[in-house]
């Protein structure tokens, strides 16, 4: 730091000291540096404890009981590991987990493929590429609630644009394209909306990866007579891989707990074809009011995501440190 900066800070500190009321100043003066540091971070820690840590611990406690939030006066019985045992053997819950896995898998595959391709195209730096980048990013900037609502209209078989466009190209009458109420199509309806909304995000991260590859590596490869195809496979892809993996991690975690869009579009229906884990959880907790049971389910989901993410981050670090 330069001398002027230091003296400036000094003067600012003196000014702050002068304007501190005497009783407060007297109390602070008695504190050590560490004490003052704690004083500064205490509000944040208190807030964090109150809204993050405490509910988590409370949920862990509830997960071992038969507590129901709609009957606060009923006797709370400690049931031990019963909730966990029931969840892990419940076929409906396993079905919801499978639905979630399918959903996560297909959204990641589609978003990564399309997102990377878009990033690769944008990185060609053609005329107006900045404009197109902005246009592509628009869906990501919308609120999921808005997106869910207007895609419901787009998917309307009678008046929706989606059904109209598909029938225009395929010849299938629009009334047969029941995106949200057909058992076969509903899961894909959600995958399409999520892909539409979040591909830009994956593209952005991939673009950062592609931009981080220095030009002279490509020039060296060109002089070394590597074809475009070989340059892509031996330079572009390996060097962008850590970024792609990061995008996959973010999207994976997000979509594992995906709730808002599914809830707005299908509410888990038709039947339970699109009932992902978070929808099941909401039903157990706030429709059936099995608070203890759903707490246990939430803990299981948390541990699953946390564990998978950890394994993945290890793999990511291995790729990065190459």
């Amino acid at each position: 730091m330069t001398e002027t900066n230091a003296s400036l800070l000094d003067r600012a500190a003196q000014a702050a000291a002068r304007s501190t009321p005497e009783p407060v100043a007297r109390r602070v003066r008695g504190l050590s540096d560490k004490g003052v540091a704690w004083l500064f971070i205490a509000p944040t820690i208190v807030l964090l404890l109150a809204i993050n840590i405490f509910p988590l611990i409370w949920a862990i406690r509830l997960s071992f009981t038969n507590y129901r939030a709609n009957r606060p006066n009923a006797e709370v019985v400690n049931v031990g590991l019963d909730n966990y045992r029931r969840i892990l053997t419940d076929s409906d819950i396993w079905f919801a987990m499978q639905t979630t896995a399918h959903f996560v898998f297909w959204t990641i595959v589609l978003q990564t493929l399309i997102g990377f391709t878009l990033a690769w195209l944008i990185d060609r730096k053609f005329r107006g590429h900045a404009f197109w980048t902005t246009i592509i990013l628009v869906p990501m900037m919308l609120s999921p609630a808005v997106v869910g609502n207007f895609w419901r209209f787009l998917y309307e078989p009678q008046i929706g644009l989606f059904a109209y466009v598909v029938s225009f190209f395929s010849g299938i009458p629009p009334t047969d394209i029941q995106m949200l109420s057909s058992v076969r199509l509903a899961p894909w309806a959600i995958v399409i909306v999520d892909t539409w909304m979040w591909t830009p995000y994956v593209m952005l991260i991939c673009l950062a990866g592609l931009r981080s590859i220095p030009d002279y590596i490509y020039e060296a490869a060109e002089v070394d007579r590597a074809s475009n195809w070989r340059q892509f496979w031996s330079i572009t892809l390996p060097m962008a891989l850590p970024f792609i993996m990061l995008a996959v991690l973010f999207r994976g975690i997000e979509n594992f707990k995906m709730f808002d869009m599914v809830n707005l579009l299908t509410g888990g229906g038709p039947g339970s074809t699109t009932e992902v884990a978070s929808i099941t959880l909401k039903r157990e907790a706030f429709e059936k009011w099995r608070t203890g049971f759903s707490s246990a389910f939430a803990i299981i989901l948390f541990v699953a995501v946390f564990g998978l993410a950890n394994i993945y981050v290890k793999a990511l670090n291995r790729v990065k440190s190459r």
Binding site: I217, E219, A220, V223, D224, A226, S227, I235, M239, R322
Partner: protein, 341 residues
């Protein structure tokens, strides 16, 4: 191996004339160094030869073949970049093997292995073949980069300040090695640098570039002793040549038209003034170890020259200074004829 012939080559970036009407011939097996300050067009010239830039005018012939519009891959050149342009996710071995693994070449893997081994030995990196290329020191990385240029045995080698990002000691070592390898292979090399020591020690011929133009080309000796103009004279020699107006120091014969006299250490005879008739005063002495920089004041001018480590001169001593066959330059900065040599 083959020769390079640039005729009337020009390149413009926006409103900057990077290379202007450049004529240059690099003979088969010749080591030519382009020397010049930043922005003189050295790197652009190199990139034009490599095909990484396309010229706006003129023609480039490599080995007698017109290469003006050819893609880099079709020119059979190797390029060593200023930055270590290694493929970071590959091992040293795979980096060296990369140019050989081109699908068009279809070289069998055991032959690739032999060639890589041989080149790795040449650039003294064979003990690190299995290492990740990012786990190397700067000098090792640049050795790999040079090795990658050598492995393919192209017709010409292009090197863009390959040693500039290394520390002084390593630079000295690799300088010798590069020269040794070039002599061993009989390679045609076009080498760009702004380091005069590299140019002087490695080049068969030095080309001095300024503002996109080739000011002078010749052997290091010729460039040093017979610079075409003030710019070239100032480019070579340590300390930098002293420039002074006519009449500052008593000189023997000054050719007509002389505006500026250039004097390097070897053009000055300095002795302790004895009879009180001094030309200048010793300002201070800079000790470099093996020799000294002598700073002199003559009237209102400063001169810098080399002195022996055991010079008897001390700070404040009055001295007589005599010119001995200095360089004469006219009003336009061009050196006046060879008659003073």
């Amino acid at each position: 191996m083959s020769d390079i012939l640039l005729s009337g080559v020009s390149k413009v970036f926006g409103d900057t004339q990077a290379v202007a009407d450049l004529d240059l011939h690099i003979g088969d097996g010749e080591f030519v160094v382009l020397l010049g300050p930043t922005g003189a067009g050295k790197t652009t010239t190199l990139r034009l030869v490599a095909g990484l830039e396309k010229p706006d005018g003129g023609s480039i012939r490599i080995g007698g073949r017109d290469a003006t519009t050819l893609e880099p891959a079709a020119r059979d050149v190797a390029f060593v970049f200023q930055q270590y342009s290694l493929y970071p996710h590959l091992s040293v071995y795979d980096n060296l093997a990369f140019p050989l693994r081109s699908p068009a070449r279809r070289m069998p893997e055991d032959q690739i292995g032999r060639r890589v081994e041989e080149v790795a030995r040449m650039v003294r990196i064979h003990h690190k073949l299995a290492n990740r290329s990012t786990r190397l020191s700067g000098g090792e990385m640049q050795r790999v980069a040079i090795g990658r240029a050598l492995v393919r045995r192209p017709s010409i080698y292009l090197m863009d300040e390959p040693l500039s990002s290394l520390d002084a000691k390593l630079r000295g070592e690799l300088r010798l090695e590069l020269k040794r390898i070039q002599a061993e292979l009989g390679a045609t090399v076009l080498y760009v640098t702004h380091d005069q020591t590299e140019a002087m020690t490695m080049a068969d011929r030095i080309g001095i570039l300024a503002e996109g133009r080739l000011v002078q080309i010749g052997t290091p000796r010729a460039i040093y002793t017979e610079p075409a103009n003030l710019h070239v004279a100032a480019k070579l020699g340590q300390p930098v040549i002293n420039l002074m107006p006519v009449g500052l120091l008593p000189a023997t014969v000054v050719p007509p038209g002389t505006q500026t006299i250039g004097a390097r250490t070897e053009h000055l005879t300095i002795a302790q003034a004895e009879d009180g008739h001094a030309d200048g005063v010793v300002d201070w002495i800079e000790h470099l170890g093996d020799q000294n920089h002598l700073h002199l004041t003559v009237k209102d001018r400063k001169l810098i020259t080399l002195a022996d480590a055991d010079t008897p001169l001390r700070k404040g001593d009055p001295v007589t200074i005599r010119l001995r066959n200095p360089l004469f330059f006219d009003g336009g900065g061009n050196r006046i004829g060879g008659e003073t040599q």
